[in-house]
């Protein structure tokens, strides 16, 4: 009940901002073409639907591959950390360092290595969601209660059974948190990776900027935002479907 009220009030807030923005445009700002009115942006989305859609497809492919690969790598590293604590002590700072490299600096480097194509943006997308997954999965794989692990020990479960039946399910809420963060991050990463390329949403943003196509720039930005938001909402949905048992997920309703 409370959740529904929150939802309604955030929709009202968004609608209010858009309406005020539109009114302001009509009244005073019509002579500033660098900030188009919401109605103009909406019209531009339809006008440029074909180029946006064509470039979006590429970005979507890169984001999805990047999200899957980056998250799998994150889980793999977390599993290593949990299984071999010494690995965590020696590698953790390295991971932090890699995470601290700005993605905009990585992107041109990857472009030089791999050339123009989907490889570089996909890797940037993967890097963007790797870190949240590695951190959250490490915490998640340690989230199983001592009691549950005692129980598995008394039942003479082997390490694999304890992992599959207790550690892994207990980590799912943490994995979902990482995916909620990772989905928009992957879209952002792919976009950054396309910035200097020849296709994709990132390229479209860059080219509309240099060609001073302000409305196309805004339309592309709105679409990219919507896509990132949908990615986030997909995992919110998964969370509600699969981990209703988790107090955190229940609390969000």
């Amino acid at each position: 009940m409370k959740g529904r009220r929150d939802w309604v009030s955030s929709v009202i807030a968004i609608v209010a901002v858009v309406v005020l923005w539109e009114i302001a445009e009509q009244l005073v700002a019509a002579r500033f073409p660098i900030v188009p009115a919401p109605s103009a942006i909406t019209a531009a989305i339809f006008r440029f639907a074909t180029p946006i859609w064509l470039n979006l497809q590429l970005t979507l492919v890169e984001s999805v591959i990047g999200l899957v690969a980056g998250s799998l790598l994150g889980v793999a590293l977390a599993t290593l950390f949990v299984a071999v604590p010494r690995a965590e002590r020696s590698l953790y700072n390295l991971v932090i360092t890699v995470h601290s490299i700005p993605l905009v600096a990585v992107a041109p480097l990857l472009l030089i290595w791999f050339g123009v194509g989907i490889t570089a943006p996909t890797i940037v997308a993967g890097l963007a969601c790797f870190f949240p997954m590695a951190v959250n999965a490490t915490r998640g794989l340690r989230a199983a209660s001592a009691g549950a692990l005692d129980l598995m020990y008394v039942l003479d479960a082997n390490a694999w059974q304890s992992f599959v039946r207790v550690r892994l399910p207990a980590s799912v809420p943490y994995l979902m948190t990482a995916l909620k963060l990772g989905a928009p991050a992957a879209v952002l990463g792919a976009t950054v990776g396309e910035w200097l390329g020849t296709a994709g949403i990132g390229y479209l943003l860059f080219s509309s900027m240099v060609n001073f196509q302000i409305e196309l720039l805004w339309a592309t930005m709105v679409v990219a935002t919507a896509v990132a938001l949908v990615g986030y909402l997909i995992f919110v949905g998964f969370e509600r479907m699969f981990i209703g048992w988790s107090p955190a997920a229940r609390g969000q309703r």
Binding site: S145, G147, A148, D150, L151, M152, Y153, V154, L155, D156, A157, Q161, R165, V166, P169, A170, V172, I243, G244, W245, S246, P247
Partner: protein, 229 residues
């Protein structure tokens, strides 16, 4: 401990009674001395699944429904000797038949502990170990659960060892009460309980029950006194 004997271990907090139970269950390793469970060292007994444990916290896995929690030991043990209807039969026995597919977080504290008892029984252990199983329940629920526990135990008789700090609970449930002293933690006295079975809520007000409670209370007070002086 004899077969089908119910032994309760009472003692003040910190005397090591839970530790003793964890040693028996092979969850802790003794620094010295030997423990035998069913004639075996604890590790062997655990591997042969001779005992079932009911912890203070029911530790039900929240991502499984109630029936799946009770079935968990069968799956982990890959046991083929246990009838596949046994988990539901046990849920009926503990009074949770209607809640087989409920989520564990929808159950009350007493119901969770019932499910934990069913889970401990599912591999037909020879010994049941209880670590303060009703410690977090209110007094009334606790009394009802004790009556229930005796009913369940009479249907599935095993040897049972319960650790508790409630003298009344120990006397009500057990054939034999062991009294443990703190610092050094050791068993200092033993009292046989002369109450006939089945025991009911009326037993709690009988003179035999009250007499036994006062005898155990005196033994416990003496144990605490001797250790602190």
């Amino acid at each position: 401990m004899r077969d089908r004997e119910f032994v309760a271990l009472v003692g003040p907090s910190g005397c090591g009674k839970s530790t003793l139970l964890r040693l028996v269950a092979d969850l802790d390793v003794p620094t010295s001395g030997v423990i035998a469970v069913g004639g075996e060292p604890p590790a062997t007994a655990r591997r042969h699944r001779l005992f079932g444990v009911v912890f203070q916290d029911p530790v039900l896995l929240p991502w499984l429904d109630v029936l799946a929690n009770v079935t968990l030991p069968v799956e982990v043990a890959r046991s083929e000797t246990v009838d596949h209807t046994e988990p539901s039969a046990l849920l009926d026995l503990v009074g949770l038949g209607r809640f087989a597919h409920a989520r564990t977080w929808q159950l009350s504290g007493g119901m969770r502990q019932r499910a934990a008892i069913a889970r401990a029984l599912v591999l037909r252990p020879r010994i049941l170990l209880f670590d303060e199983p009703f410690g977090s329940l209110d007094e009334i629920t606790r009394q009802r659960m004790n009556v229930e526990l005796l009913r369940i135990w009479s249907q599935r008789p095993t040897a049972a060892l319960m650790v508790t700090h409630s003298i009344g609970e120990a006397v009500f449930l057990a054939d034999r009460v062991l009294v443990m002293s703190p610092q050094p933690g050791r068993i200092v006295a033993e009292e046989a309980v002369p109450l006939a079975r089945p025991r009911t809520l009326e037993t709690l007000t009988s003179p035999d029950f009250l007499g036994c409670v006062s005898r155990v209370t005196k033994l416990l007070l003496k144990a605490v006194e001797n250790s602190t002086s």
